[in-house]
Assembly symmetry: none
Homo-oligomer: 404 residues x 2
């Protein structure tokens, strides 16, 4: 049995770029280690969900880890909260929220409270409260954004939004969509009223009013979702699993799945992340763990920036960082792919398939020694998210026989 | 965002033909425009339903348009009726039917009424009637064939056939398969009796008897199916959709899906169809519509005829007709494939996968500039019917992101 290392180069897939002589960043990159790994194993194309579907990083990682995103992704609230680093538990009901400005009659004057860009950490903190037996947790996001989590018994996500989704409209009463949801809609209505009471007289807002800015005097929630109960990954696949992931959204999903986070010095989830350390810690921890999921976010950031030259450079840095893996092919089964394409020409996720490679000693080699979106199509792998862990279990000699 | 043109060369896929030096018609064809489109994009293989399934044109088009054929194809009746150009509505119950010959005791003497080949239009017309609140519509098909549609409230397809499926047997009483179906089985039994009354004394049959031919003196129905409620295609995919389709079966499905038919002068759904006009009208209408489905039937007709040389010529005619599309790759996302293979050596549909190409500016190129069943396998596409619209939405920059 081998140890499994699954490396997700976030947003790896791309389209031809004029800045790179009509090549993709992966095609243009100098990447002898990736090419070596490809040549020693199988390559192909990978659809994180299914062909053409444009995944988020959240739905893609759910799918890659063996959880059906159509069943587990119930609404954006929980994943927004995970993305802000909140510690969620199955059964929590989470919302996306906006700090907004209302007048005395609860008419929304500004849905973004003048795109408030500081002090929201304090405003959020002032809204943590308990109503009855239900705990309410609030965390600020970028600018006016926030997440709200209800934790308690008998909660439901089947309620309507408080946010009227437009200005010059009244704050809405949240309504239950079924009988069991009345507790939750009552709670969120009470929370909304209290948020106004607390925020309107908060020193930060008194200051904002003085300087002619719209006060962030209410928190309007929307997109209720229930935090899914993910079957424990370790039990589901009989793997002692860990992750090296800098992005809160993904590490949050791992946590829900029972995958242990490993913190790595210098791993930031940004462009300047220390990839050498990530690999070093992976190798160290694969002594103890059977499976490590590693996410490298920098490729995606370059894609969202539309910077193909930067993306190529990030790939080249990753390639260098991967060098120590080459001597572990007798012990490791390594898969390298991405969670979605983020073409620099689109600056956002697309549903284009991704190149994938699986490398370990003793398996078939497709004989393809230049790994990119185009050459990978000539290889033998054509898999989707739901297949990933099964394929890895197979090539690490860990799969259980189904039948006799 | 780009406009989408989906061209179905009906029955395109084939097997090697001795008449073409062991090449398929597509391999043998001179087709510079198809090759150009392929070279500018991605190619691959396509399973209309899933590998090995032998689709009808109806089930294949349902699947391609994003409707699960296993859920929407409830029986042949509705699709037979659509194929005869009848105007169906969701909830109608439709049957296939035979004009047959019975004796006075309702014993079937000839299930095909001497393969009657004229006058069935008048016979069918004489059978349109109303029983209670239910309207009954009858349309003749080829030779002795016909379709019967019941339109009204509380109808069901869960009834047994009237047709005994053999000669020298009694016409059967239709029986309800569940309680709610009794109204329908009663209706169809009453219709069968009346059909005998009307047809046996119809002038056409009196004439047939005089000249020693078997009279078409009863209409025997079978294969009850309920016309499916297809979710509106325009809403489902957020596309303003039209079709250029000469075959009633396919245009009927489009109509049920809310896809607007565009009529094109000279487009006949036969071998002599005017393909240039089809392309001209597609280009004109893509100014208004986001999506056009075009079906070219001639390839399938040549396949059913077992005429590989003709099929090659039809492909060459199509290739010429496609020339005006080449200058629209910045505006259009074009997919070309078929709905099933109709190998000339088989003269019928098979479950062999089809070559597919997607062409538009800015996407990856697989670098394959000769497009056929064999070369396509080296490309990056490997999709099935349910993926088609998702893939087209992705490559036309119209897909909504699933997740964050």
């Amino acid at each position: 049995m081998k140890k499994i290392l699954l490396i997700i180069l976030d947003g790896l897939g791309d389209r031809p770029s004029k800045d790179l002589g009509n090549k993709t960043p992966l095609q243009a990159a100098n990447k002898k280690n990736l090419n070596y790994l490809a040549s020693k194993g199988m390559v192909g194309l990978f659809d994180p969900i299914s062909p053409g579907i444009r995944p988020g990083s959240d739905t893609a990682h759910l799918s890659i880890l063996g959880y059906d995103p159509y069943k587990t992704y119930t609404g954006r609230g929980p994943f927004e909260a995970l993305g802000l680093g909140m510690d969620l538990k199955p059964g929590d009901v989470a919302f996306r929220g906006n700090f907004a400005t209302v007048n005395d009659n609860f008419i929304v004057v500004d849905r973004r409270a003048g795109r408030i860009d500081n002090g929201t950490d304090e405003l959020a903190k002032s809204l943590n409260m308990k109503i009855g037996d239900v705990e309410i947790l609030v965390k600020e996001g970028v600018e006016h954004r926030a997440a709200v989590v209800l934790r308690g018994k008998n909660l439901s996500s089947k309620i309507t939004d408080v946010d009227p989704h437009q200005e010059n409209a009244s704050v809405k009463e949240s309504k239950p969509l079924d009988e069991k949801a009345k507790l939750t809609s009552d709670l969120i209505n009470e929370f909304t009223r209290r948020s106004y009471k607390i925020l309107d007289s908060h020193p930060i807002n008194i200051e904002r009013k003085k300087s002619g800015k719209n006060p962030a005097n209410i928190l309007l929630v929307r997109g209720a979702g229930i935090v899914p109960e993910l079957e424990d990954f370790n039990k589901k696949f009989n793997l002692k699993a860990a992750c090296i992931v800098g992005v809160p959204l993904i590490s949050g999903i791992c946590k829900l799945a029972g995958i242990k986070p490993i913190s790595v010095p210098g791993a930031t989830g940004t462009l300047n992340t220390n990839m050498e350390n990530k690999i070093k810690y992976a190798i160290e921890n694969l002594k103890e763990f059977d499976f490590i999921l590693m996410n490298i976010k920098a490729t995606d950031i370059a894609g969202h920036d539309g910077n193909a030259i930067l993306k190529k450079e990030v790939i080249e840095r990753a390639d260098k960082a991967f060098e120590p893996l080459l001597e572990h092919l007798d012990e490791y089964t390594i898969m390298i792919t991405g969670d979605h394409s983020t073409p620099c020409s689109v600056k956002d996720h697309t549903g284009d398939p991704l190149p994938v490679l699986i490398s370990t000693s003793g398996i078939r080699s497709d004989g393809i020694d230049e790994w990119n979106e185009i050459s990978a199509a000539k290889g033998s792998l054509r898999i989707s998210g739901k297949d990933v862990i099964n394929v890895l279990l197979n090539y690490s000699d860990r799969a259980e026989k189904f039948g006799a």
